[in-house]
Point group: C2
Chain length 207, copies 2
DNA sequence: AACACCGTAGACCACACTGGTCAATACTCA
DNA sequence: TGAGTATTGACCAGTGTGGTCTACGGTGTT
C-alpha cells in the first residue's frame, strides 16, 4: 500500500477498506472480485491499483488491519481476572459483539481467516496470526477457577462442551439475523435469552 | 434425466453422480463447473447434456437422490423408542457416520442443502425437503424422557445446549480429518473420546 | 498564461472459463 | 450392410477476471 492511500481522507479510506473486507470475507481470496470492490467503494478501477500494487497486496494489508482490530478491540479487552469460566466467556461474547457493532467487516474477515486453511500468508503476518491465536487462547482459558465445576468431571472436556454450546448459540443467532440491518435490531431480548442459556450451563456444570 | 442414464451400468452412473455431488457440495450451484464434473467423472462433455437436459436438471436429480439417501439411510433408522435424549443423539451420530462412510458425497451434499438458503427448488422437491426436516425433528426430539434431566432446568434449553455440544464435537472432528483418506482412519479412539464427552454431558445434565 | 504534477476514471486488454451445442465418429446388433 | 444409439471434444457466444494505460480535471508554482 502506498502512502497515497494513507493520505486519503478517512471516510474514503474506510469505504475502500470496508468494501474490500466484505468482498473477501464473503468470497475468499480467489473468488473475490476487484471489480465488485471498486463498484461498492465507489471509486474507479484504476485507483485501487494506484493505492495497492495488486490484489494480493491489498489482501495482506487487510489481514494486518483486521488482525489489529480483532486483537485490540476484542481479545485484549477480556478481563483475565474473572476466574469463572462461564462468566469469562460471557464477557468475551459481549466484547465480541461490541467489536462487531463497530467493525463488522473486519470481524467477519478475521473469522473467515481463522476458519479458512488455504490462504498462504507471508511470515510476518503468519507470526501476527500465531500471536493472536496464542493470546486468544490464554485470554479464554488461563487462570480459570476449576473448583467451581462439579466434582469428578473432566474439566478440559467441560471447557470444550461449554465452548461449543456458546459458539452454537452465537452461530444460530448470527445466522438468524443475517441480512437484517444490524442497527435496527433490538438485542436486549437476545441477551436475555443468552444469559438464560448461561444459567442452565452453570446449573449443570457447576455445583 | 433421461432413461438412457438409468440404463447405464451402475458403476458409471455412480461415477457421474459422485463427481457431480462433490462438485456441487464444494462450490454450490452457481460456482459448480460442469467441465470439472465431466473431467472427474471421466466422460465427455456431451454425455452429461445427453443424460440431463441442463445443469439445473442435473442438480434437481441430485437433490432427489441424496434426500432419499439421507432419509432412508440415516433419519429413518433412528430408534425413537430410546427415550434418553443423549443416547438418542449418540445413536444418531453413529448412524450418520455409517451413512457417511457409505455415501460421503450424498451426505455432504445434503448438508450443504440444509445450510444454504439461496437455492430455489421446485415444489415437489421443496415438499420432500420439508418432510425430511419434519421427520428429522421428530426422530431427534419426540418421545424424550424429560424426567432424566436435573430438576429445575429448562429442558428445551438443555436440548439445544446438548445439540450444540455434539454438533461442535462432530464439526471439529470432521474439520480435523478433512483431507484424510476416510478408509485409512481408525475411528475407535474418536468414538471413545466422543463417548467420554457424552458421559460428561450426562453427569452434568442428568441427576 | 504556462507548466508540471497528482488524483482520478473507466475503456480496454488478453485471458480463463462458463453452460451448452453439434458434427463426426465408434459401437452394437439385427 | 445398415439403422440406430452412445460417445467425444472442438467449438460457440457470452461473461468475468486482474491489471494497464491514456486521457482529463484540478491545483499550485512560476
Amino acid at each position: 500500500m502506498t502512502k497515497t492511500f494513507s493520505n486519503l481522507e478517512e471516510t474514503k479510506q474506510q469505504r475502500i477498506i470496508s468494501a474490500a473486507l466484505k468482498e473477501f470475507a464473503e468470497n475468499g481470496f480467489e473468488q473475490a472480485s476487484t471489480n465488485r470492490i471498486v463498484k461498492e467503494a465507489g471509486i474507479g478501477k484504476g485507483m485501487l491499483f494506484y493505492y495497492f500494487t495488486n490484489k494480493q497486496e491489498l489482501f495482506h494489508y487487510l489481514v494486518q488491519y483486521s488482525l489489529n482490530i480483532f486483537m485490540d478491540d476484542y481479545i485484549k479487552k477480556i478481563d483475565i481476572s474473572e476466574r469463572d469460566f462461564i462468566e469469562r466467556w460471557k464477557q468475551a461474547a459481549q466484547l465480541k459483539m461490541q467489536a462487531f457493532a463497530k467493525y463488522p467487516n473486519a470481524i467477519n474477515f478475521t473469522g473467515m481467516l481463522l476458519l479458512s486453511d488455504e490462504v498462504q500468508l507471508p511470515d510476518y503476518l503468519e507470526a501476527k496470526f500465531d500471536e493472536l491465536r496464542k493470546t486468544g487462547y490464554a485470554m479464554l482459558y488461563d487462570n480459570i477457577d476449576v473448583s467451581l465445576f462439579r466434582e469428578g468431571i473432566d474439566v478440559e472436556k467441560a471447557f470444550q462442551l461449554i465452548r461449543w454450546s456458546i459458539d452454537g448459540y452465537q452461530n444460530e443467532l448470527t445466522n438468524q439475523l443475517k441480512g437484517k440491518k444490524f442497527s435496527s435490531v433490538d438485542f436486549d431480548p437476545y441477551w436475555e435469552e443468552f444469559y438464560a442459556y448461561l444459567d442452565v450451563l452453570k446449573t449443570c456444570y457447576y455445583d
